[in-house]
Symmetry: C2
């Protein structure tokens, strides 16, 4: 009788999950790898803000998971929603009620938007964490301009005021890209309103943008956003969001129809009462990324409270997620091969954010800080080389986009809301952005 | 006091509407051109079936209307829904209640899906006339495969049976493209099901496919679809559609979750009790395309009952629509210039349909009939030259697609349903596909 190969389940097919699957698949080990994701696509999140600002189309940043795992015959994808994990029985329970046993588990279930309990934020804020989020932001922003063109009196009611909450990379990138979209691309297209007069207000709780960056990068981001007419509200806190306005703690009321919520994320609650969590819902992990008490369960990506050697938490961005996923896969292989696991060591290549065309900041190792056009090229190069891997189509998309972007050739300015499919039980709608 | 230029309203920005706007804009005449459309994009309908079968992304066949009319400073777009036309008062009424007066009107409001009263067709049939329609078909078809992979017992319940109703160009193109998608692209991507075993059933009421084509083309379409394992039901009528099955007049019951409804269209009912209509809801027009009794109102495109010189109706496809729109615009200019109008003369360049890769049929003038690869190239060339005009991006898209298509490099296989925007009153959902 042939022996059944050990089953490794990977929950989530984001950067961490796919990185784990590739490492497992490439090992050639006799495994039964099951990938579980709610969607049949992987999202290239670093460029989501470009989808939201009509620089890229959805198909450019969404990638078909089956195509990515095609080379690994041991791996299969099931498009299913995970209800919870039962580590004591080594079972993953789906929301259909079915259970899947595993020998090793890699949880990369990611995060979802954190509204921090701000009144009205969940109802009226537009998050920017998933691909459907980004398409919704694009549709909404473009629809605001169409509404104002049809009835210019709406401008005084805030139809052309766009508030971004959160001064981290997502908020900065979104504010910068909106400014360029309005002032360089859309300005020629309306007769009754002037998109150059649209207001962009960036609200940040702390006293600086890009808190995780070096002061020189923060300063550059300030200057570049100011040069793009973005109004900065630093040290400002949003206390209430309504359909037609935002209220700040200072008492300032901003009439607006658009609040882009880029204030932060929290780990998905897939295993809520099962594993220990820290602030932000990240799961506590051992140095080897396994879960305390369950050496066959690993966590990687936004959901893992993985740290640097000095004990500080790694940021919830693509590059650490990829490294963590790969590490978790290696430890699974070591365990299955009877070897001891080793601790995760992250070699930090730095921090980067794009403010606009030829304007970016890059905090690199050895205290090298780049700003402006050279940082933009570094950003492009790093994404090309490190994140794209051997994926021909992705590389082509990024090169084409960069070329168009530099020439102000913009992409898909369509307001397109496909009707949901009422008939098929399995067709899904976004209920909880970011859940696997 | 400066004289107000005459206002020309164009309802609808499809092939006919944009063709009229371009002709009016290029004339250099001092006009106030107002374009009304429910959407901010124009749809390249001949390639909708490629969006539905994941060969192209939505942004490839949707084009931003403001970008297209940008060269014409006299023209403006209002993204609004027209409620009705009041020809006696020369007013267009919007669904907001506002009215717009006009000196001349070009109605190109298009058509919508005609369900011919078949029981269950409107509830469960998936039409393929608008861009949201095409995205919904794609999401649905791909979701069927995902559901069957997760639970292979669904295959016996029809999860992988795809019924296409209507053997005209849309039905033939859709059946052929699905077959290639399943058998050439998706076959490598599943572990538990075999996409090559998916059934495609094409149901046509008459005894032949492509009724408007020459017998040799019809024969080629039969052969090519049969070679692609498409099951043909000719002379067959659908009597009932339920969520999980289709019933034919013969008594045959086909278990299926997918009925693509390509059986025909009817004119939009924008002006229902105002103008005289023929079967299919097309508005009766004079030889110059004006409406009897209203010489300042013209109708063009799918909504117009325009005829050839022999009195037969022109097909509701792109090329006649473009010619009619241009003609209507010329007559508007002649009338405003005090000249008599002239009759519309259509120079028919022929009929074309694509069955699959390197397989097409083309009925050309002078009794030339092409089939196979040469017809496919003719199809490609004609679309490139005649429909794309000077639009750089469209041309690039088509060339890129044709190149990928020939290499079986497929595009966006994503199941992506953006959540509708609950907040903005102007954000729209499809209520009546095809309405302007």
């Amino acid at each position: 009788m042939a022996q059944t190969p050990p089953r490794v389940i990977v929950i989530g097919a984001g950067f961490a999950g796919l990185s784990a699957v590739k490492r497992l698949g490439r090992s050639g080990a006799d495994l039964d790898i099951v990938v579980l994701d709610r969607h049949n696509y992987n999202t290239f999140q670093p460029l989501l803000y470009q989808v939201a600002t009509a620089g890229l189309d959805a198909g450019d940043v969404g990638h078909h998971i089956r195509g990515i795992i095609r080379p690994y015959r041991q791996a299969e994808l099931l498009v299913e929603t995970v209800a919870r994990v039962h580590p004591d029985q080594r079972l993953v329970e789906l929301d259909t009620g079915a259970t899947l046993p595993y020998d090793a588990l890699v949880i990369t279930a990611g995060a979802r938007t954190n509204y921090f309990g701000v009144s009205g934020a969940q109802e009226h804020g537009l998050p920017l964490y998933t691909l459907p989020d980004a398409i919704r932001v694009r549709n909404h922003v473009l629809a605001c301009f169409e509404a104002a063109e049809a009835d210019p009196s709406l401008v005084d009611q805030g139809a052309l005021t766009f508030v971004v909450v959160g001064g981290g990379p997502t908020g900065v990138e979104m504010a910068g890209a909106m400014s360029e979209l309005f002032r360089n691309v859309m300005r020629r297209d309306f007769r009754r309103i002037d998109p150059e007069n649209a207001r962009i207000v960036l609200v940040e709780m702390t006293d600086t943008l890009l808190g995780a960056f070096r002061p020189r990068s923060q300063q550059h981001a300030h200057e570049q956003l100011a040069a793009r007419n973005v109004e900065l509200r630093l040290g400002a806190r949003v206390t209430n969001i309504e359909r037609t306005r935002v209220t700040l703690e200072s008492g300032e009321v901003i009439p607006t129809r658009t609040v882009i919520w880029a204030a932060g994320v929290q780990g998905n609650d897939l295993t809520d009462d099962t594993f220990e969590r820290i602030r932000g819902g990240r799961i506590v992990v051992n140095p080897d990324l396994s879960v305390p008490g369950h050496p066959e369960v690993f966590v990687a990506g936004d959901l893992a409270a993985a740290t640097r050697r000095d004990g500080t938490l790694l940021p919830q961005v693509a590059r650490p997620a990829i490294a963590e996923g790969r590490h978790a896969a290696r430890q699974v292989l070591r365990r299955l091969g009877g070897q001891p696991t080793v601790p995760f060591r992250y070699h930090d290549p730095g921090n980067m954010a794009t403010i606009g065309r030829r304007a970016a900041v890059a905090d690199l190792p050895l205290h090298i800080t780049l700003t402006g056009g050279i940082a933009w090229l570094a950003w492009l190069g790093l994404h090309l080389i490190e994140l794209m891997g051997g994926m021909h189509r992705r590389t082509e998309v990024l090169v084409r986009w960069a070329w168009d972007y530099l020439r102000w050739e913009w992409g898909p300015l369509l307001i397109l809301t496909p009707a949901p499919d009422p008939d098929l039980a399995t067709s899904e709608q976004e209920q909880e952005p970011g859940a696997p």
